[in-house]
């Protein structure tokens, strides 16, 4: 029930922000469509800890600045690789073991790897991720340990 309530509030805030109207009729229509979406989510059995992960939002917000810094530094690296006169890239495939347990934290970890330019998660097999990286020197399996630890703390606690 709590999950439904939180989802309702988030969806209604999204609807209100996207419409921007204050007329009672339109607000009522938004209310109806939001409730319909919540009922659909309930019918699909999406209400669990991973479907509506509102408890992890504060820790997720703490994770974002670090991810932002990673994105900026790896962006600079890849742009330098794009603009160098001689192409010094050194592509490599690495297998990265993750300590994340839940599907949501694994998704966050794989998405974080893909979001930082220069590394793309190609395949996931239980607790092993296949990562394609532009530079072998900065994509050793040890280099992902900190990101893995932070993702695990952000979702699994």
């Amino acid at each position: 029930m709590r999950y439904a309530f939180v989802l309702f509030i988030i969806l209604y805030a999204l609807w209100y922000g996207l419409s921007g109207y204050n007329k009672p009729l339109l607000l009522g229509l938004g209310l109806i469509s939001t409730i319909l979406a919540c009922v659909l989510a309930w019918r699909f059995r999406l209400f669990d800890r991973e479907g509506v992960p509102y408890l992890t939002i504060p820790r997720l917000l703490l994770y974002l600045p670090w991810l932002f810094r990673e994105i900026v530094t790896s962006n600079i690296r890849v742009i330098r690789a794009c603009l160098r006169v001689d192409l010094d890239i050194d592509p490599v495939l690495v297998k990265v073991k993750t300590s994340c347990q839940s599907d949501l934290s694994k998704t966050l970890f794989a998405n974080s790897i893909t979001l930082t330019p220069g590394t793309v998660t190609i395949d996931v097999d239980r607790d092993e991720l296949l990562v394609h990286a532009l530079y072998a020197s900065v994509a050793k399996p040890e280099d992902f340990i900190e990101m893995d630890r932070r993702c695990k703390r952000a979702i699994d606690g």
Binding site: I79, I89, P91, I122
Partner: protein
């Protein structure tokens, strides 16, 4: 009170300039990503160059647009767009890369090839020296 109004006036004066500068910066980043896509040798490395456009350029462009936006509602929508882009763009890159791998496209891995080449050239030079 006058302090805050002064800050507000300063923001109104300089925010559009800063936003425009950030938008130009984002456009330049997109250009760099495009150059990388053209220069890199194979599919997977080109994906890395494209992800510069996905992350850095989008971040700069949308921050710039937020600074230039006329009302809070527009800023709210832009932030929602940013969140959705940051959720969907890695998913899309992963889907494309995974499809390529499943279809049997092997990535160019420079390191072993380089070693093999240097080993061959070493042997060649050795042969030349001995002969």
């Amino acid at each position: 009170m006058s302090f805050f109004s002064e800050i507000g006036a300063l923001y109104g004066q300089y925010a559009p300039l800063l936003g425009g500068a950030l938008c130009v910066f984002g456009a330049v980043l997109t250009l760099f990503g495009a150059i990388g896509v053209l220069r890199f040798p194979d599919f997977y490395t080109r994906l890395h160059a494209a992800s510069v456009t996905d992350t850095g350029a989008v971040l700069a462009l949308i921050t710039g647009m937020c600074l230039m936006s006329p009302s809070g509602l527009v800023t709210y929508k832009l932030i929602i767009i940013l969140i959705f882009l940051f959720l969907t763009s890695p998913t899309a890159s992963h889907a494309v890369a995974n499809a390529a791998l499943k279809a049997g496209l092997t990535p160019i891995l420079s390191k072993p090839d380089d070693k093999a080449q240097t080993a061959e050239t070493d042997q060649d030079t050795a042969k030349e020296v001995t002969s």
